[in-house]
C-alpha cells in the first residue's frame, strides 16, 4: 500500500506541472493575432490587418522569391511589425545550436529559421534589397543574388 502511494505521487506532480507550465516569455500582445493552433497555416494580425504565411521558403535569390497567388513579399515596414524586440531562445535545426529569435515564439518561432535574413519587397535606390534579420532584429541591405528566406503576406483589412 505504501509503495503504491509513493509511486503515484510524483506522477501526479508531473501531470499538474505540465498543466500549469506557462513559460513567461515575451510575445505579441494577447490580442495581436487571431486564434491559431499548431496546424494553422496563416497567422492574422488583427491590428495591422496583415495575414502572414506561417511557413517560409528559401533561402532563395531575390528573383526567385515568389509568393502564392493572393500573397506577396512584405514591405520592410510590414515585416518589421512581426519582430519581437524581446528575443526568445530556442534550438535552431539549421544552426544546430540555441539561438535568439526575435519573433513571437508561438505564432512563428518553430517556423522561422534565423541563420539567414528575410527578403522584403523594399528595394533601395542602389538596387540592393532590404532584409530583416530575426536573430538580431536588425535590417540589412542584401544583393539580389544573395539567398534569403521568404515569408509571404496578404493585406486583409478588418471589416
Amino acid at each position: 500500500m505504501m509503495s503504491r502511494t509513493r509511486a503515484r505521487f510524483p506522477l501526479r506532480g508531473v501531470v499538474v506541472a505540465l498543466v500549469i507550465a506557462s513559460p513567461v516569455l515575451a510575445d505579441a500582445p494577447r490580442d495581436q493575432y487571431e486564434f491559431f493552433s499548431a496546424e494553422t497555416l496563416k497567422i492574422k494580425d488583427r491590428k495591422t490587418g496583415l495575414e502572414w504565411d506561417r511557413l517560409v521558403s528559401g533561402p532563395l535569390p531575390f528573383a526567385d522569391a515568389s509568393c502564392a497567388s493572393g500573397t506577396r513579399l512584405p514591405t520592410l515596414k510590414e515585416l518589421l511589425t512581426i519582430v519581437d524586440e524581446e528575443p526568445h531562445y530556442t534550438y535552431d535545426e539549421t544552426q544546430l545550436k540555441n539561438v535568439p529569435k526575435m519573433i513571437d515564439q508561438f505564432a512563428f518561432g518553430a517556423q522561422t529559421p534565423t541563420d539567414k535574413a528575410y527578403w522584403t519587397s523594399s528595394v533601395n535606390p542602389d538596387g540592393q534589397v532590404w532584409t530583416v534579420d530575426f536573430q538580431t532584429g536588425e535590417t540589412r541591405l542584401a544583393h539580389p543574388d544573395d539567398a534569403r528566406y521568404v515569408r509571404c503576406v496578404a493585406f486583409k483589412p478588418n471589416p
Binding site: P10, G13, V14, A17, L18, V19, I20, A21, S22, P23, V24, L25, A26, D27, A28, P29, R30, D31, Q32, Y33, F35, F36, S37, A38, D45, K47, T48, G49, L50, R72, P74, T75, L76, K77, E78, L80, T81, V83, D84, E85, E86, P87, Q105, F106, A107, A110, S121, S122, N124, P125, W130, G137, E138, T139, R140, L141, F155, P157, N158
Partner: protein, 216 residues
C-alpha cells in the same frame, strides 16, 4: 533525496518540451471565452496590454525596463504592381496640428519642427529630457516600430524620411526601445534616416531626436 533533486531539475525542462509536443503552448494564447481558458483557477501570469497608440500602454517583462510596443495600426501598404518607381513603400499621410503633424494612419502626433537645440545629435538621456520639456506635450521618444513608420525608403541623396519632415538630419535617431536582453551598458535601437536601417547604439553615444505623442 537524489531522485527528488533530479526531479526538480528535470521537470521544468520536461514541462516546456512536453508543452510543445502536445501543443499546449498554442492554447495559452486563446482569448478567454469563459469556456476553457480560466486555467482551472490558475493565476493569469500574463500582463499583456496591447498598445493601441492612444494609451501609452505596452507590456513589461523581466529583461527590460520599458514595455515593448507593437504595431497597432492598419498597414495599407500594398504596392500595386503598376506603381510608379517613385512610389514609397507605404502610403504616407500627415495633417498639420499644433506643434507638429498627425499621422493619419497610425494616429501618432510627430513634433515638427523640432527646437533648435535638437539640431545636433545628443546622448539618450538628453534626448529623452528634450522631449519631456517640449510644449503642448506630453511628448516622448518614439518606440522602434513607431519611428520606423516615418521612413521613406525611396529617397536618395537626402534623409530617408517623409517630405513633411524636411530638415531632418540624415543620421541615426533615438527610439525609446531598449535592446534586449537589457544589459548594464544600456543600448537603444536607433533608426538611421541616412541609410534607412535600424541599429543598436549605446546610451552615451550621440544621435538625433524626434519626439512623438499619442493623439489626444
Amino acid at each position: 533525496m537524489l531522485s527528488a533533486l533530479a526531479g526538480v531539475v528535470a521537470v521544468p525542462a520536461a514541462m516546456i518540451a512536453c508543452n510543445d509536443i502536445i501543443g499546449l503552448s498554442d492554447y495559452q494564447r486563446v482569448e478567454c471565452t469563459g469556456l476553457v481558458c480560466d486555467g482551472g483557477g490558475l493565476p493569469d501570469t500574463s500582463t499583456i496590454d496591447a498598445t493601441d497608440g492612444t494609451d501609452g500602454g505596452g507590456r513589461g517583462d523581466a529583461s527590460g525596463t520599458q514595455p515593448v510596443r507593437w504595431a497597432a495600426w492598419p498597414m495599407p501598404n500594398y504596392v500595386p504592381p503598376d506603381a510608379s518607381p517613385d512610389s514609397v513603400d507605404n502610403p504616407l499621410s500627415y495633417s498639420a496640428t499644433t506643434g507638429g503633424f498627425v499621422d493619419d494612419v497610425t494616429g501618432l502626433v510627430w513634433a515638427h519642427p523640432m527646437p533648435s537645440e535638437a539640431g545636433s545629435p545628443m546622448p539618450f538621456e538628453q534626448a529623452k529630457a528634450l522631449c519631456d520639456r517640449l510644449p503642448n506635450g506630453p511628448w516622448r521618444l518614439p518606440s522602434r516600430i513607431e519611428l520606423v513608420t516615418l521612413l521613406d525608403l525611396s529617397k536618395q541623396g537626402t534623409a530617408k524620411i517623409a517630405a513633411t519632415f524636411e530638415g531632418t538630419l540624415p543620421v541615426a535617431h533615438w527610439t525609446s526601445s531598449e535592446v534586449r536582453p537589457f544589459e548594464p551598458e544600456r543600448q537603444y535601437w536607433v533608426v538611421d534616416f541616412g541609410s534607412g536601417g535600424l541599429a543598436k547604439l549605446h546610451a552615451g553615444t550621440s544621435a538625433a531626436v524626434r519626439c512623438v505623442k499619442d493623439r489626444p
